[in-house]
Symmetry: C2
Subunit: 273 residues, 2 copies
């Protein structure tokens, strides 16, 4: 299970302020604390900064990789120029994921060559030319279209992560089930992986981390390969730990027991003396 | 989702002591508190009491139904004579479930007539003549054998709950997945339901309620109809509430939001004033 830390996102006011103030220490701290909490990739989104996305994302990538040379990055932008700038700024020894392409022809044709050139992995949203899919079957059909396009461009399918797009259960009660059912359908179309941005599921509800944690357990059980989450949410990370133990993804529950001893499952650390 | 409260079980020392002391107030309190926490059925197990199971279960059933005339009961015993005694003692206006039959011919032939005579529902463990099944497919095959026997006896299949038998992940890492995969397979054999005693999954691990809560989310997602649990475990019941909201089993998340307002999701109650 791959965990991408979502906190360095310019939709958050605190992050916008750190970027505007060029507060390198605060940005690096956001990256380090996410990595310590279990994130293998750090998502960087500067799309909502004040008209200077290209310069901002270049600066953020620089700050993070200076402090953490082995860091792996998820580049998250609607603008292919910002993606290109971030890719060329990245000098780390880790991996890069680009977030994201869709079935839209023009977006594919701009981003696929970049992904190939820089050896980046790719997140593909199952969003069609005509908008958001409702059913699991529609999501898998869009994924198949995208897979065809990606393979035609010579991009390796094993580096492709499909995001079937989570929608809030508070307003669309059937959508969680459609999302979950889409995971095995999408995994069956090829040697591809699945990913999601989790927290949208609980939009509009109280106690969101409880909903997110339960949904993560369900999604891992259905085969989800990766998730974009807040790794500082200890309820969510506890659910991840328990789910891995339950599904045989954590041999002899070793990681789970270690997390318990270190007090990372909502409990106090165990003193061994 | 049907919830059966498991607390009045003579494997627990405190319960054995209440029964031995004929402490009606304490036993009734165990039943009332479980019903208040969301249990629709109260499980009664007196099998480990000191050689007096028949008299003990009769007394416990009497105490509970005197205090709660509408109570529904789950009669849990390996001894068909204790089951018969409990059935005849039950005068409540609720329902009764018998826990349990297996594929064993002799047990079926003793308990099926009792279930029919008293109009009770039935839990059937997917345990074959030759022991515990390992795979999801084996569990479904045993369920099919039992279903055939049950239908031949004229018992209505819709009153049948199959328990695919949870085994501890700490010692058998692949068993949670086999259990979960068996739920849709068993539900496909007829108009039957699925149930499980949940807590065995976390045997031998720390922070058991976290494992149980994550497993419940997964099992509900796969279609589990009923669970035998400790309804006073607030983490478990929070997971149930979130899972129902996620899967469209709680219209407009009304129960979830009410549970939040009443402080039943691990939060403080919300004062409306």
């Amino acid at each position: 299970m791959l965990i991408i830390g979502e906190r360095i996102n310019s939709t958050r006011k605190g992050i916008r302020e750190m970027i505007a103030a060029r507060d390198a220490g605060a940005i690096l701290n956001e990256a380090v604390s996410q990595a310590r909490a279990g994130a293998q990739f750090i998502d960087v989104n500067c799309a909502v900064t004040s008209g200077e996305e290209l310069r901002d994302i270049e600066w953020v990538i620089g700050v993070i990789q200076n402090g953490m040379p082995g860091v792996s990055i998820c580049i998250d932008s609607p603008d292919h120029l910002a993606i290109e700038r971030a890719l060329s700024a990245y000098k780390g020894t880790g991996s890069v994921i680009i977030n994201s392409i869709t079935a839209e022809e023009s977006r594919c044709s701009k981003i696929l060559p970049l992904a190939s050139k820089y050896g980046a992995k790719l997140i593909a949203l199952t969003m069609g030319e005509s908008g958001m899919p409702d059913t699991a079957v529609e999501r898998a059909a869009i994924a198949k279209t995208i897979l065809g396009r990606v393979k035609a461009a010579g991009f390796p399918e094993e580096a492709l992560y499909f995001d079937p797009l989570v929608r809030p259960v508070s307003t669309e009660p059937g959508q969680a089930k459609e999302f979950l059912d889409s995971i095995p359908l999408i995994r069956a179309i090829g040697n591809v992986k699945t990913i999601c941005g989790l927290s949208n599921i609980s939009f509009g509800l109280p106690n969101r981390s409880l909903i997110n944690a339960s949904f993560l357990a369900m999604a891992i059980e259905r085969g989800l390969d990766a998730a974009i989450v807040d790794p500082l949410d200890s309820r969510l990370m506890s659910s991840l730990s328990a789910s891995r133990a339950l599904l045989g993804l954590d041999e002899y529950c070793g990681d789970y027991i270690r997390a318990f001893r270190e007090g990372r499952l909502g409990n106090k650390p165990i003193e061994i003396g």
